[in-house]
Symmetry: C2
Subunit: 218 residues, 2 copies
């Protein structure tokens, strides 16, 4: 029988090998991937169109545990958003090293687009303008990805021996062990963010009402 | 004269070489650094105590442009925080690849601790408890580092050809070119976050006032 001329390759196998490389080194290149899989670089192109497609496969892996709540127009918008963001963070916490690689590429994966669609639908229904919907989604993205990095950070964010002032020392002394501390900070941040958005929405709606009242269309 | 036995090394030169490696590959190892500098790994230890110290030197570089406002107790706390966070983001935007490496290590650099001290002092003075001060600082860290990654992200966050729903399509259509879009989203996020924190602070103060009023110490 002899050895087959090249091992069995698949897009999933290539994505798994790329994830291993990113997890250990923060990056991957096509030649590294080929070496790891024991094949020539050109044989990878029988299964994937190139680096961009591999990045999207990694994004699908990172988002694979994002679980979207069923779309319920009767539910308060902030509850729906909170559910989505908790799930989004929980999925990315597993792959912190992947985050800068994914943010450096335009999104084109089904799981990701489905989630962004759910955020946009919920925000639009809550009364945010399209421009504020884009801004709010960007804010959520920044917060969730930063929180996923924070969850992967060391148990003690500051060196014990570090020379800090009394206010920072008092704050640090309240820190509970990880992962509780990271989860607690995420829930606090989520509450602050949703409260700020709701407040912003109310003020903005009031402002645009004023605009209409004070300057009625002629 | 001949060639000296090893090139002139310094902690700064080692940090610069490590930054080059992180910028191109997302990581650095001591053997890679030594190879790049044309010295043996052991000779690096004449200048730095090890990997941890190099990471802190990279953090100092990343924070080198953080400019703290002078401490003014009469100024609204949210303005002071906003100035600090704008400067923090501006400094990190230059080194997005460094972010996961830095978040994976406990902070022990002077620039960083000075900034966290300024945040803690301002929040404590504004009436946040030590526990909420820690939570608020964590939220700010997550938001700023996520925003720095967003600023380094591609001009079009979503593939043009991607199949998206009408609400997301309408939101995306409002996107201005980069870097204006990223800066605009950061300012929106900053305003939302500070409004949410202020609202939280007011409610929390009211709640603890209620607690005191309803349950006076016996």
């Amino acid at each position: 029988m002899g050895r087959p001329p090249s091992p069995l390759l698949s897009a999933d196998g290539i994505a798994a090998a790329a994830m291993d490389l990113v997890t250990s080194t923060g990056e991957f290149t096509i030649p590294q991937l080929a070496r790891r899989l024991g094949v020539s670089p050109s044989s990878l192109y029988n299964h994937v169109s190139g680096r961009e497609q591999i990045v999207e496969l990694l994004r699908e892996l990172a988002m694979s545990e994002v679980d979207l709540p069923s779309d319920d127009p009767g539910r308060p918008w902030a509850e729906t958003i909170a559910d989505i963001l908790r799930s989004y963070r929980g999925s990315y916490v597993r792959y912190p090293k992947l985050i800068p690689l994914l943010t450096a590429h335009a999104v084109n994966s089904t799981h990701a687009l489905t989630m962004y669609d759910a955020l946009a639908t919920t925000l639009a229904r809550a009364g945010f303008t399209p421009a504020d919907t884009l801004r709010a989604i960007t804010l959520m993205d920044c917060f969730v990805l930063g929180s996923a990095l924070d969850a992967a950070a060391p148990a003690e964010p500051w060196d014990n021996g570090a020379d800090v002032g009394p206010e920072l020392a008092a704050a640090l002394a309240t820190g509970t062990p990880k992962p509780i501390r990271a989860d607690d900070a995420f829930e606090f941040g989520l509450a602050v963010l949703l409260r700020g958005l709701d407040d912003f929405r109310a003020t903005d709606a009031a402002r645009s009402h004023d605009r209409i009242t004070n300057h009625p269309p002629s």
